[in-house]
């Protein structure tokens, strides 16, 4: 490939990208964020570990600045994490995925919860995490 063809290819790539991202009706994968929303029966949760699984997960961040998130990629399709802070009903974590259209394929599970005095919850009844776009 000569240099003029390199220039053409580089200039064409963004155009192709735009064409793809706008091609929703076309059914191609759309990278984006999913939100993990916590349901808790308690008002004094201080820390939680969870697992989220799905087709692929690029990375994750805490949903707001009052929470701190630690993660480990257990496999290509499973991420485990610990989120610490004043947990409450609502968004706790945002995960970046290659295809938000596959949101329904993602599941999340609460593994452990501790209150703010470090005591481990003996029951996880009433806890749930839902994955939403």
């Amino acid at each position: 490939m000569n240099s003029s063809r390199w220039v053409f290819a580089i200039m064409a790539m963004p155009l192709l990208g735009v064409a793809c991202s706008n091609d929703v009706a076309g059914g191609g994968p759309q990278a984006g964020s999913l939100t993990l929303r916590l349901t808790t029966p308690h008002a004094d949760d201080g820390a939680m570990t969870f697992q989220v699984s799905g087709p692929a997960i690029d990375n994750a961040t805490a949903a707001n600045a009052s929470l701190r998130l630690f993660t480990r990629q257990a496999s290509g399709s499973t991420m485990v994490g610990a989120v610490v802070g004043a947990l409450a009903n609502g968004a706790v974590v945002t995960v970046r995925v290659p295809d938000v259209g596959a949101a329904a394929s993602y599941t999340a599970t609460v593994l452990e919860v501790a209150d703010r005095q470090d005591a481990l919850r003996t029951s996880l009844t009433g806890y749930a995490i839902t994955v939403t776009r």
């Binding site: 820390a47 993660t71 485990v80 004043a86 501790a114 703010r116 470090d118």
Partner: protein, 632 residues
Amino acid sequence: MRISILVLVAVVGATPAMAQTPTAGSWRDAVQRLRTAPKARAARPRPHVAATLESIVDESEPNDSVRTADSIALGDQARGVVNPPGDVDTWFVDLTAGQFFSADVDAQELGSPLDATLVLLAPDGRTVVAFNDDFDGFDSRISYHVPTSGRYYVMLSSFGRIGGSPQARYLLNVGLVTCTAVGTEQEPNDTPGTATPIALGDSVTGEMCAHDANPVGDVDYWAFTGQAGTTIELQVDAAKRGLLVDPFVALFASDGTTRLAFNDDADGADGADPRLQFSIVTTGTYYATVTDAVGHDGNPFPYTLHVRSIVPGPGDPITVRAENLGFPLGLAVGSTGDLFVGDVGGNRVVRISGQGPVTTFAAGIPNPLGLAFDASGQLLVASLDGTVYRVTPQGQVTRFITDAGFPFWIAVAPDGRIWLTNVLDRSLRRYSAAGRLEAQFDGVAIGGSGPGPLAIGPSGEPYVSNFTEIWKLVDGQFQRVFTNGLLIWAFAFDVAGNIYVPAPTVGRIQLFDGTGTVLSDPFAVGPDAPQALAFGRDATGATVARLFATDPLAGRVIEMNPAGVLHPGLPVGYVAPPFTLDAAVTSLLGGGGLSAADVQYLDALGNHNGRFDVGDFQAYLRTLNGLPGSAP
């Protein structure tokens, strides 16, 4: 607040007195022992009574009450018998304001089985203005400055009103006390300017006699020249003559007002007699003072003051690091070497930075007692109000532990757990780093007044003092480490496991090895009444071979001579684990990588349920100031 201070005084002040009677037991036991023990009866000093004997007056029963009291006049000698058991003999005497009245019983001295007590009632016939049980052996004496002219009543009975027999005879001498110069002293010598000159090596005699209206009673000043580098000892002999008296001795600087050292009661051999040692740094005139604990209305008594030089300890001379601190008790050293001191009376914690000025670090903590830094670098302060407060590095105070009863001494173990002694139920308690009670250990069985002062030993186990012994807790059981003949307050370990012990009643610091073998006694004699010891730390937080002590009665923090400190201090408080936060995260989230010891450590930081879980992780983050909203 007044009650609080009284409680504190009771704990801080009374406990040493209790501890000087090594045999355990209640104060009632102690009284009983005192009363039944054979007493060395030295030749009795005759009271200075102004009047000559006017007449001998026999009692006339019934005279059990104010209404039926017998008459007696100054200079008279009353004669009676306490019979039957429970009998009370009452005498009235007319007194004039300004007189220094004396009522003195002779009974035991005459071979009588009577153990007398005396009560002096005001002219209203009800108000007790003076009381005495024992003065000269079991024989009572009252000395009283008469504030108001009128008819006063002297009531004489047997101790507890349980004794009495036809043989329980007594003589009651009533008159006026006169105070004249006795022995070597040259009255008036109540000020530095009128001090009686003496020299090192002298043994001089004087008398405590409250000749004027000074509320503290008689104060005898003695002046001597002290040479720099000399360590001196002041010792008073009075109680050992068989008198139930309690003199104090103090040492004042050349200005006559700065108190350098003080002692009430020395060790057991001296009983209530005081003794102090002090290392003189500056050549000059010094003043020894002798006073009486009872003060204005104390009975006169003679004493001997010995002023001698002694061999100092390796920790002498001391250096004053900060003064005018109120009543500094608890001491902790921060991670950059600053000293933090609780000022009990000032309801504050002060910070002493390097050689810089003293600043108030935290205010509003009622009567701070023991201090320690927790795993997150915040200062824990046990308070007389029953709370352990936590103070951020910025000085913000919050209530932290509120279920500790009466926490007095506090320490933090290398695993971040908090240990404290609850003097209310005499327990040693363990809390998680988060302040949750994990366990408590009944300390009544260790005897004495323990568990009291507390330190973490080389193996991470808590050591406590019962005030004359040091014990350690091993697998939940107390084990005696060693017994000391002196009161033991807040001791400290060096890295070799040696124990530095403050002995406030004798004003010195001792050094023992880990088994209680004396390595150096005295280690230092310069302190007045040292209460809490702590090793210094450098700017990196490493402990160093510098030893500090609070000296509450002198209101100061002192440092021992570092040339005499053998080893650096044992690291105190939380010790950061050898793994990273990332490693902890990986382990928590199923990736393994931590050792069993690390996992055990993390579990101990948190909920101690036998495994490492998210609660423990939260606790660990807290120690790193890593929780959301924490200061980095």
